[in-house]
Assembly symmetry: C2
Homo-oligomer: 385 residues x 2
């Protein structure tokens, strides 16, 4: 375990019917901008609940933040923030709306070209404070300082984050807000959280037994509750558990002191940019290939994973690892995910494009040990045809 700083100041307001508590968390004289996505919050009633809590506040609205939030959209919000002298942002939505809000918060006060925050990783030193009402458990953005922003004009999908500035001040996690989620977003949420954990866990032995067991705790719970969550939208007990797992999967806790992977995400991002496949769906495609192709590098952790998560104790090392990977893919499929490029009618052309796009963004090798080379990416994706 390497040296680390752990500092996560986000206040989590968790449970049923807790939305009213946010009125005590926002300064009384704040000029608020409410940010949201395509308008589902207006259909399912969450918008009206939020507006009702904000009735004594000044607020304006900025809707239309899309999945994989677009730089051009967010810059319109930045202009509006500056014009209206907004000093608090309230994100109502899932990870895309919140990631977009983080960028708006940072870019509005940034003295320079906001694109540099993404492309050149310039650090911000102040942000408009912001809070979140989460409607879609998946990305963990509600308790971390990071965001992923896309720019379709250039085919780029880039991340940024400057802790502690870009942590939400608070996040409301009410399981009721998941009741009307589309089936596909339930499947995606479980897979997204699961792969977030493996990106931090399935690397190499780093003498961090507590991190390992915390990671295993999240994965076991996701496996135990995932299918119930997908099939039982009215089960608030299950929704609570999935929500809390998703948050814990990517709030920095299980990564303290570790070198992490994120190669599956990097490849998945390119599939989203090229073919508009949902983020988590790309992870379900790439993950089994990544694990098989990198199995020698990740051997010790894959064997631990096989034993502790899937109770696999028989067979030689290779057999146990293959069983664990197969069981994981079967888990994804059991939730309803597709795990092959051919499920999306994609072929070798896509593989060439993914590698070209990665290279255009400066790609030489990725992964926890920088061993996922372009050749490996090709092998990974060819195994997912």
């Amino acid at each position: 375990m390497r040296n680390f700083i752990y500092h996560n100041p986000t206040k989590i307001i968790f449970g049923e019917n807790v939305l009213h508590k946010i009125s005590a968390e926002i300064p009384a004289n704040a000029r608020i901008m409410l940010t949201y996505g395509g308008g589902s919050i207006k259909k399912n009633g969450i918008y009206h609940q939020v507006v009702s809590v904000l009735e004594d506040f000044f607020f304006i609205e900025f809707g239309g933040i899309e999945p994989n939030p677009q730089y051009s959209t967010l810059m319109k919000a930045v202009d509006l923030c500056r014009k209206e002298k907004i000093d608090f942002l309230l994100s109502v939505g899932g990870g895309s709306v919140l990631d977009g809000t983080k960028f708006i918060a940072a870019a509005s006060l940034f003295d320079g070209e906001p694109w540099d925050i993404l492309e050149n990783q310039l650090k911000v030193t102040s942000v408009i404070p912001f809070g979140a009402v989460l409607t879609l458990p998946a990305t963990g953005s509600e308790m971390n300082a990071f965001a992923v922003i896309s720019r379709k004009e250039t085919g780029q999908k880039l991340d940024f984050g400057t802790p502690p500035f870009t942590y939400p001040r608070f996040s409301v996690l009410d399981p009721n807000f998941t009741r009307t989620l589309p089936h596909s977003q339930r499947i995606n949420g479980v897979i997204d959280a699961f792969v977030h954990v493996t990106e931090q866990y399935l690397t190499f032995q780093q003498n961090a037994p507590l991190n390992d067991r915390f990671a295993e705790a999240i994965m076991k719970t996701l496996i135990e509750e995932g299918l119930n969550y997908v099939n039982e939208p009215e089960n608030m007990s299950v929704a609570k558990n999935i929500m809390w797992c998703s948050t814990m999967a990517l709030n920095g806790l299980i990564a303290t002191g570790l070198i992490t992977d994120w190669a599956t995400h990097k490849i998945g991002h390119e599939l989203t940019v090229l073919h508009n496949i949902d983020h988590a769906s790309t992870l379900a495609i790439v993950w089994p290939g990544m694990m098989r192709v990198m199995s020698q590098i990740k051997k010790e952790k894959l064997l631990q994973y096989a034993e502790r998560i899937w109770d696999i104790n028989n067979g030689d090392d290779e057999e146990r690892i293959e069983k664990a990977i197969s069981k994981t893919e079967a888990f994804f499929i059991s939730l309803g995910a597709k795990t092959r490029l051919s499920d999306y009618k994609l072929n070798k052309t896509t593989i060439v494009q993914v590698v070209e796009n990665l290279k255009r963004n400066g790609f030489v090798a990725i992964g926890e040990q920088k061993l996922v080379t372009p050749e490996k990416v090709i092998a990974i994706l060819e195994s997912r045809m």
Copy 2:
């Protein structure tokens, strides 16, 4: 899982040789009071390292905070803080020094009789900001908002805490600072952290599978690394793991949304007040009795504990629970702990006194379901003769 707020703003600065980082965490013009205990930090060199980091700051010192920090001692520090217009406190020591520092931080700015913060649980609304350099992993005080303060004149040991005010601004966790710890404090540290977890975990099923598994993660790691920590003071890898377990055991994470127990602690506190037995040593005495006497109430969780922590799958419910309790006591003994009142030459007189003292502090029944009555306390302690 009930509704909850989770908000833990303490910045953890973790690893070897990271003490210098605190100079960036303390305001440059701060008037600092350095707080410490009996002076071991002067013998082992930690004092000199801290003073060296503070060379550009104004600071005064207040040493002599004792184990189970005393109200009368702390009030002397409060007077000094007020007189010297101190506006930052730096605790260098273990949980007792830090708990004492939390009280100094709160009492110095308290408009009223500071004893009311403890006896009448009056809430504070501001504190002198404080940071911690931890020298003894055990209590978790480095990442929580709580403190336990004693008053020997009246035989009281009371806790307080007003989050978020009473969280440390930062805590330095450097495993090197554990190198010179006395053997007994190593044993105590592991047992203290372990029982902190069981106080939150061994209650009843509360539909919190992630909390359960996080708790199990900490216990498994403490069991795996505990004896190495006790026997290998130079093993920094092990010290890191025990430090991180101790912090996670009582930073609020595994208690989110749960009703917790703390009856073992309450009884243990009385043994400390009466006979000056180290805090963790009292837990090692009381714990097996608590679990046996309350085994019907805690049955479901004790069976889960038996299976997941000790791999006990054979026998009827009672046998499995008894095996798990015995194995836990054997674990305490293997570390070097004493687990019987007779080990301290205590007899029935003590049991009567413990119950009388508890009653004097308003005791009717304690524990997660308020079922640990005076009669149960007697049965628990009689089983520990």
